[in-house]
Symmetry: C2
Subunit: 173 residues, 2 copies
C-alpha cells in the first residue's frame, strides 16, 4: 500500500509547541486538555492572538518540534511493509521547508528524501491511505482517510479515526 | 484539467546556470549546443566534474535561475483555463526548498503556494498532464506525459515532446 502521512499534529507536535511558546511568553496556563476542540490561538485573549498565529513564521519553529508519541517506532514498522510518504502542507511557510527536511533527517531518517512531499493540497496525491489531522484534507483525498486525533479536532465526526500511533499500528500493520 | 509542471529545465534554466557557472570558474567554452545529449558534468574534464555536480548545493543556485523562454506568459494563459501545479523534485537539495519558493514568488506569483509541490517521486501525483524534462518521471506518471526538450534529453525517444513553451501553448490552450 502507498500510505501518505501528514506532519504537523500527526508526527510533529505543533499544537504542543504553540502552547508551550504561548505559556512561556505570556505566563499562560494552557494545556492540550483545556484547549480541546479549539485551535490554540482561539484560546488566548484577542491581544495575544496575532502572536500565536505568527509562531509558525519564526525561524526554528518547525525544527524544534517533538515527535508525536510512538510515531517513530510505528512508522518504522509500517515502512518495512508499505510505501510510506510524508506529505506536509508546508508551502504556506517557506521558512519551514528546510527545517522540516532537517527535522525528518533527525527523527525519521528511515524515510528517504524521495518519499517526502511538501504540498498545498492533498487531493493531488495518488495513493491508498492518508493519515491527517485536518478533515478537509481527508475529504478531497481519493482513498482511505484516517483522522489522527489532535486537540483541535476532537469534535469532528464522520471520519475513521485513530487516537494514537499504536492504533494506527493495529489498523495498518 | 489538472496539469503538473516540473521546475528545473522546464520553467527554470538550471542547465544554462550549470554552464555559465562552469565557464566562469574554469574559463570554459561550453554552450547548450555543444553539450547536446549530455548532462553538463559529463562535458567537463574529470577533475572538474565534482565541482559541477555540487553546483546545486550552493546557496543561491536555485534563487538566481532564469525562467525558460515564454514559460511565464504561457503558464499564465494556461492557469486561466486549467488547474496548474508546479511539481519539483526538490527534496534532494534541502537548501533549494526556500529558494524555489521565493523564485516562484518572483516569477510565477500567479501560481499560489497551494499549487506548489516539492516531492521526490512524480508517480505520487494524481492528475491529467505532467510536463517534465526527465523521461523516468513521465514513465511512472499515470496520465499524459509531455517531455519538455532540454539539451540533455534531445536523443530520448518514445515520448510526446514539446521543444518550447509556445508548443505547450498550442497543445493545451
Amino acid at each position: 500500500m502507498r500510505i501518505f502521512v501528514d506532519m504537523d499534529e500527526v508526527i510533529a507536535d505543533t499544537y504542543g509547541a504553540h502552547i508551550s511558546l504561548y505559556n512561556s511568553e505570556f505566563q499562560g496556563h494552557l494545556t492540550p486538555e483545556n484547549c480541546a476542540g479549539k485551535e490554540v490561538w482561539h484560546m488566548v485573549p484577542e491581544a495575544h492572538q496575532d502572536s500565536v498565529r505568527k509562531h509558525a513564521y519564526r525561524r526554528g519553529f518547525f525544527r524544534d518540534l517533538k515527535p508525536i508519541a510512538d510515531s517513530v517506532i510505528i512508522l518504522k514498522e509500517l515502512a518495512a511493509q508499505h510505501d510510506i510518504y510524508i506529505a506536509s502542507a508546508a508551502m504556506q511557510f517557506p521558512n519551514s521547508l528546510e527545517e522540516k527536511s532537517h527535522w525528518l533527517d533527525e527523527h525519521f531518517s528511515f524515510i528517504p528524501w524521495q518519499n517526502r512531499i511538501l504540498c498545498g493540497h492533498k487531493h493531488v496525491l495518488n495513493g491508498d491511505v492518508l493519515i491527517d489531522d485536518r478533515s478537509y484534507n481527508l475529504l478531497t483525498f481519493d482513498g482511505r482517510g484516517i483522522l489522527f486525533t489532535s486537540p483541535h479536532n476532537i469534535n469532528t465526526e464522520g471520519y475513521e479515526r485513530a487516537d494514537t500511533w499504536l492504533e494506527i499500528g493495529k489498523k495498518l500493520i
